[in-house]
């Protein structure tokens, strides 16, 4: 499945309204919605590479690593493929400016296309625009009638498929009192009063407007793509428009303007293309044009709606918490880290799909947004509320990695150069956690005042709008590996050049990666490859570059408590001594009887710990006996588990607590202060929270930490992953 690749499949936008003169089409973009979808696709590609002929464009998809074709189909044998690649690169060199050849990060890819878009709009000026009165084979008038549904179907998601084309949107119908506000919408009283006073006079002839999104997604992902478009763009945009209509009669005024402009167009000479003319004169047309051009290129659309700036996007999937299966394509340069699951819950980022068929992740994401989208107007308003969301609190212990040069970002998000946000952006360092930044701000007497909540909301903003990526603060003591998702085959060729340009004094990208992955008994701390102290900063910068482009990821350590047989025995003896009347019971059953069977009955879901107990014992034997059937029936003996791993010490059983106590007191009799620390971090010994994060969160000195672990080492089992 190609859920990880952006694919808006947006063919066009229609603005239809229903007045007492019946339904009518106010504006459509692009001007020619051809009957033939293929043509349309080709058009899209032409935006990207103007000077390629059509069939070449088809081929082109196969070279565009953000296009599904790149991964699908049956390619020729490798060498001839590589030869073609070579040729293609050469030809591209010829054709295009450096910039677009090095389509490195998605942002760059997107930049590439945005330039394309502007070209396109210019081109269309010269092109004589054919306003065919049929949209994808359906006569316009009749289509428009279908897109003005009866009131019962308004103010909720609308969708109709006609043959292969999907018309989707949120038709907004006014109430009897002429107000456009959703009846059940909650607003502060004074607000409503004010509105009514505003609304009551202007009861217009228009009783419904509907911004329709036309799509043709591949059947297999149809639902998914439509949901995406609806939740992230269609619904939000429509709600903003409703708001403007409610407050300022925006749509109606624009509609009148547009129909007037259409008249004027005939007797004016400056514009020879209606759309550029309308785009110039009508803000509504402008925003529809922009919306189409940006969204259909999977970019962020910054739309000025009645002079208010709103941003919309279908988030790209570039953050993964687990490794996608080999059959699941993803955008090259994607980031792999378990911290993603931390932020993922907030719906800030769009967590990537890892399985070929599974869509649960996608769905849960959708649900998350359903919640958001309720009374939210325009993408970002919601975000500011998100920081109350507990799941994301940990973010303050983490750092931000800007995906672009600060000044560029400040420019792109149209922030005042001396605004708080701008200064904040300038301050961001991948080596410093937000909390550190914050405390710094406090100390710097002159500097901007910024409370933690604001700080967080800024952070969320940057993350959501593809400007930054949340990472563990870079540290030379941490371990970094070449990410299993590293885009070596796809991007390396271009990145080598960029890297060497950015870091002339560093070893080549290839060399650097080699250093990071050079064989050793275990992956090493980053400092191991830094030649000298003076190189530290440079190497850290280079490292952040690698992270930004998805080449490396950090290894984290996750731990469990491991209870040895020895300990178990001891505990058991103690228990026997305590209550002699149970002596009769055979010991073995006593051990196991107490732990798993009881637990399974208590919460039958997963057996919390692996340890062989009577009940499961026979079962195991059978399973395995079956397993080995075919080898002429040898006797099967199951090796006893010496050790028991406690999966969730946070919710330990009495017995488990006894064991833990035993370990702490007798096995490695810890010093009292260490005992305290031990119990502080006990709940984290569940393989979920990484020690690295733990260290950042609980402020425990690395010193104590080391001491503690050196002592309980034998009772710890740890795993290392991202």
């Amino acid at each position: 499945m190609s859920f990880n690749l952006p694919n808006p499949c947006l063919l066009g936008l229609l603005l239809v309204i229903s007045t007492h003169n019946g339904p009518q089409l106010v504006y459509k973009y692009p001007p020619t919605l051809s009957d033939n979808p293929i043509d349309n696709d080709l058009d899209d590609d032409e935006y990207k590479v103007d000077d390629f002929s059509d069939e070449e464009n088809e081929v082109l998809n196969e070279w565009d690593s953000k296009h599904y074709n790149f991964y699908s189909g049956t390619k020729k044998d490798l060498l001839s493929f590589l030869d073609d690649q070579e040729k293609f690169r050469k030809s591209k060199m010829g054709h295009k400016s450096k910039k677009s050849v090095e389509s490195i990060s998605f942002d760059d890819m997107l930049k590439k296309t945005v330039s394309g878009v502007s070209d396109q709009t210019n081109n269309s000026k010269s092109s004589i625009q054919v306003d065919s009165s049929s949209v994808f084979g359906v006569e316009e008038d009749y289509l428009v009638e279908m897109l003005c549904p009866p009131r019962e179907m308004c103010n909720s998601r609308f969708e109709i498929n006609i043959d292969d084309f999907i018309y989707m949107g949120l038709p907004v119908h006014c109430n009897d009192n002429g107000s456009w506000k959703k009846k059940n919408k909650l607003v502060s009283n004074d607000d409503t009063k004010l509105d009514e006073s505003l609304d009551s006079p202007k009861i217009t002839s228009m009783n419904m407007f509907h911004l329709v999104f036309i799509m043709n997604p591949p059947v297999i992902e149809s639902n998914y793509r439509i949901d995406e478009m609806y939740h992230y763009v269609a619904s939000r945009l429509s709600l903003v428009l409703r708001h403007e209509q409610q407050k300022h009669d925006y749509i109606w005024q624009q509609v009148k303007l547009i129909s007037k402009l259409k008249q004027d167009f005939k007797n004016q000479s400056n514009f020879n293309n209606l759309d550029s003319f309308l785009g110039e004169k009508s803000s509504l047309c402008k925003l529809i044009i922009d919306c189409y051009n940006f969204i259909s290129n999977s970019e962020i659309a910054n739309l000025s709606i009645n002079n208010k700036l709103r941003s919309f996007q279908i988030p790209v999937k570039t953050e993964f918490h687990s490794l996608p299966q080999s059959t699941v394509p993803f955008l090259p340069g994607s980031h792999l880290s378990s911290t993603v699951s931390l932020v993922g819950k907030t719906g800030l980022i769009n967590v990537g799909e890892t399985t070929r068929f599974g869509m649960d992740n996608a769905m849960s994401m959708m649900m998350g947004n359903l919640a958001n989208q309720n009374n939210d107007i325009g993408g970002m308003d919601k975000l500011d509320e998100d920081d109350t969301n507990s799941t994301a609190d940990d973010i303050i212990y983490l750092a931000l990695l800007l995906l672009d040069d600060p000044e560029t970002i400040i420019k792109d998000i149209k922030a005042e150069s001396d605004s708080v946000l701008a200064n904040f952006i300038r301050m961001i360092k991948p080596t410093e956690s937000l909390i550190r930044l914050h405390s710094k701000l406090q100390n710097e007497t002159n500097s901007l005042m910024l409370d933690i909540a604001q700080l967080k909301s800024f952070a969320f903003h940057l993350i959501y709008w593809r400007r930054a990526r949340v990472i563990h603060p870079l540290n030379t003591r941490s371990i970094y590996i070449v990410s299993p998702m590293a885009p070596i085959t796809i991007n390396m060729y271009n990145d080598i050049l960029t890297f060497s340009k950015t870091f002339p004094s560093m070893p080549s990208l290839a060399q650097f990666l080699k250093l990071l992955s050079s064989p050793s008994k275990k992956p090493r701390q980053f400092m191991a490859i830094i030649p000298s102290k003076d190189h530290k900063d440079l190497y850290l910068q280079a490292l952040s570059w690698l992270l930004r482009h998805g080449y490396v990821t950090q290894l984290h350590t996750f731990i469990w408590l491991k209870v040895s047989r020895k300990v178990k025995m001891k505990v058991e003896e103690d228990m026997e001594n305590e209550n002699n009347h149970k002596k009769s019971k055979p010991r073995i059953s006593n051990i196991h009887g107490t732990d798993n069977t009881s637990k399974n009955t208590k919460n039958g879901n997963v057996n919390k710990r692996i340890s062989s107990n009577p009940s499961s014992y026979e079962r195991d034997i059978d399973d395995i006996a079956n397993g080995i059937k075919g080898i002429n029936g040898p006797e099967v003996i199951l090796e006893e588990d010496e050790d028991t791993i406690i999966l969730d010490p946070g919710r330990a059983t009495t017995l488990e607590r006894k064991w833990i106590h035993k370990i702490v007191t007798e096995e490695c009799n810890l010093a009292s202060e260490l005992v305290v620390i031990f119990y502080d971090i006990l709940k984290y010994m569940n393989g979920k929270t990484s020690l690295e994060l733990l260290l950042l969160r609980e402020n425990i000195s690395r010193e104590d930490f080391r001491r503690l672990f050196s002592q309980i080492e034998d009772h710890i089992i740890s795993v290392r992953h991202w």
């Binding site: 590293a486 290839a510 791993i645």
Partner: protein, 563 residues
């Protein structure tokens, strides 16, 4: 929520028509009045009537739309004929599903049925005649009844659609229970539906990847199967790479690849990588599934356990875990597997098996199954820093009864561990890219210097048969290579073949070697420049990793990126 076959069940089916005085209305529906004026109705029909029977311009198209919590899919039909009152007969057989459920599998079928009914109505008023008085001008009745007496129809026993009620009822029942149906309409027509799941298009898989069966295909195979498929089937055993399979079954590579892709498309196989002791594996973030998912541990135990007779090399003992059930298993093929499996340094292989053999106590038939804790411990002890070989040596004592290949496969297939791929890099190549002058010929020239002795001879004979103005040998030489380099694969073969023949003319075997070797090296450079991983390269050159590493050394300073 889903039928046995995983299709969304149909919520309701209704048959709506346009009545010339009453307008759009439902004639039949199942379940009985699922759609009514009452509060328990699925939705208010009045709201959507103009979508069920739209204006003629929108008829005869597949139209589906959302209403409330439901999605209605239909194919409104508009038949023109002056036998009808008001000259037209409009109807639509609509299917209702929960909104946002997967309905693609139905949509095509619905379109098909719609078209079929349209034709049948046009031909012999199949539907309208059922309530003729409602749709057909009285004066035309006669003529319509005539239709079936058309010569040729006479001798047929008349079956004709008796009631739509029962028809949609049966469709509803059959599709929801068996996801297929076959209902005769009249002597010559019937509704045959079978729902098929729609899967994502196959992905391009690579020559070095190894398919492992999830289904016992050998039991399904029959003569109608694609010949290539039948040929390659015996060699799909979780050990052979796709390239290898195509070679062993001597079938065209691309065809083989396509077959495999189809198998993957239908979820018959999964893809793993070539098992070698030089491979590196490390744990993923899902490794704790081993502790959490009930039964996984047991499955692992039974899968990886090794009967202690065969050396813990890739052996294919019958596998009855749900992972790769009933993999075909006959000794002869086992054998072919053994030598076909691309374990590089065979010398090491031997050493290794020796190392193990003493531990095999031949006489006892006791198998000690490793404990789950141990297995978990073993998985987590894999890391990016060391190869399986090193890892093995480190953990030898625990690995007595464990088939390492299966141990690894189990880990991979359950995403407990992942393969760390190694990408060879050549500083020469990297440089050339950095100075963005990566003309491959230049690279070749650089590497010529290192293979000079052979090259000179090589050029010698190229001089003979490539007539050229007597330029300096060097340029001559490189031009020859350019000719090789710039061809695509097909022409390359040609250029190669003529090398061979002129070698026969001047039979200096040494030069033959060198020019071949040269080609190999050129290929290698291309592959490195294409940033292919080592498996891919080994497969492409059909050489062992060891050999490839040797070649790399020829090409100057090099190394590996482990990703």
């Amino acid at each position: 929520m889903e039928t046995s076959d995983g299709f969304t069940p149909i919520t309701a089916i209704f048959y709506a028509i346009f009545h010339s005085t009453e307008g759009t209305k439902i004639i039949n529906q199942v379940p009985e009045n699922a759609i009514n004026s009452g509060p328990k109705s699925l939705f208010n029909f009045n709201t959507i009537k103009n979508y069920v029977i739209p204006k003629p311009q929108l008829c005869n198209k597949l139209i589906s739309f959302k209403v409330g919590k439901y999605k209605v899919i239909g194919y409104p039909v508009n038949v023109q004929n002056d036998s009808y009152l008001r000259n037209t007969f409009k109807f639509n057989l609509c299917f209702v599903f929960p909104y946002n459920s997967e309905t693609i599998s139905y949509e095509l079928t619905i379109k098909r049925i719609g078209k079929m009914f349209k034709v049948l109505e046009e031909q012999n008023f199949l539907l309208s005649r059922l309530n003729a008085e409602m749709f057909i001008k009285s004066e035309k009745f006669q003529q319509i009844n005539m239709i079936n007496e058309i010569p040729g129809f006479k001798n047929f026993k008349q079956i004709s659609l008796s009631s739509i009620e029962s028809l949609i009822n049966q469709i509803y029942q059959d599709l929801n229970n068996y996801s297929e149906c076959c209902i005769p309409l009249d002597s010559s027509n019937s509704i045959d539906i079978k729902l098929f799941p729609i899967l994502p298009p196959p992905l391009n898989i690579k020559a070095f990847q190894v398919p492992i069966l999830l289904v016992n295909l050998s039991s399904l195979v029959d003569v109608n199967w694609d010949p290539t498929m039948i040929k390659i089937l015996p060699y799909i055993n979780g050990i052979n790479s796709i390239k290898k399979i195509s070679e062993l079954s001597d079938s065209d590579y691309l065809l083989t690849k396509q077959c495999i892709q189809h198998l993957m498309h239908y979820k018959c196989i999964q893809i793993i990588d070539i098992f070698q002791f030089s491979n590196i594996y490390a744990s993923t973030n899902n490794i704790d599934n081993f502790l959490k998912i009930p039964g996984l541990g047991e499955r692992c135990q039974s899968y990886v356990v090794n009967d202690g007779f065969a050396a813990p090399l890739p052996s294919s003992t019958p596998q009855s875990t749900n992972l790769s059930q009933n993999q075909s298993n006959n000794p002869s093929q086992n054998h072919s597997v053994q030598n076909s499996s691309m374990v590089p340094s065979s010398s090491f292989k031997k050493k290794f098996s020796l190392a193990v053999s003493p531990s095999n106590t031949k006489d006892t038939k006791v198998i000690k199954v490793p404990s789950k804790t141990l297995l978990f411990y073993l998985y987590r002890s894999l890391n990016q820093g060391q190869t399986i070989k090193q890892w093995y040596i480190q953990h030898k004592k625990h690995l007595k009864n464990i088939d390492i290949r299966r141990f690894v496969n189990f880990g991979i297939l359950n995403e407990l561990i992942y393969r760390v791929n190694s990408f060879p890099i050549l500083s020469a190549v990297t440089k050339s890219i950095e100075i963005s002058n990566d003309d491959i010929n230049k690279l070749i020239d650089d590497l010529n210097l290192k293979t000079k002795p052979d090259v000179n001879i090589n050029t010698a004979n190229t001089n003979i048969n490539i007539p050229t103005t007597g330029l300096g040998i060097k340029s001559e030489e490189s031009s020859h290579i350019k000719s090789i380099v710039n061809e695509n694969s097909y022409q390359r073969r040609i250029s190669f073949s003529y090398d061979v023949e002129d070698d026969t003319k001047i039979d200096t075997t040494q030069s033959k070697v060198s020019s071949e070797e040269m080609n190999e090296l050129i290929k290698l450079v291309k592959l490195v420049k294409g940033f292919q991983n080592i498996d891919s390269i080994c497969t492409e050159l059909s050489k062992s990793r060891f050999e490839v590493e040797e070649m790399l050394d020829k090409l100057g300073s090099n190394g590996f990126i482990n990703s």
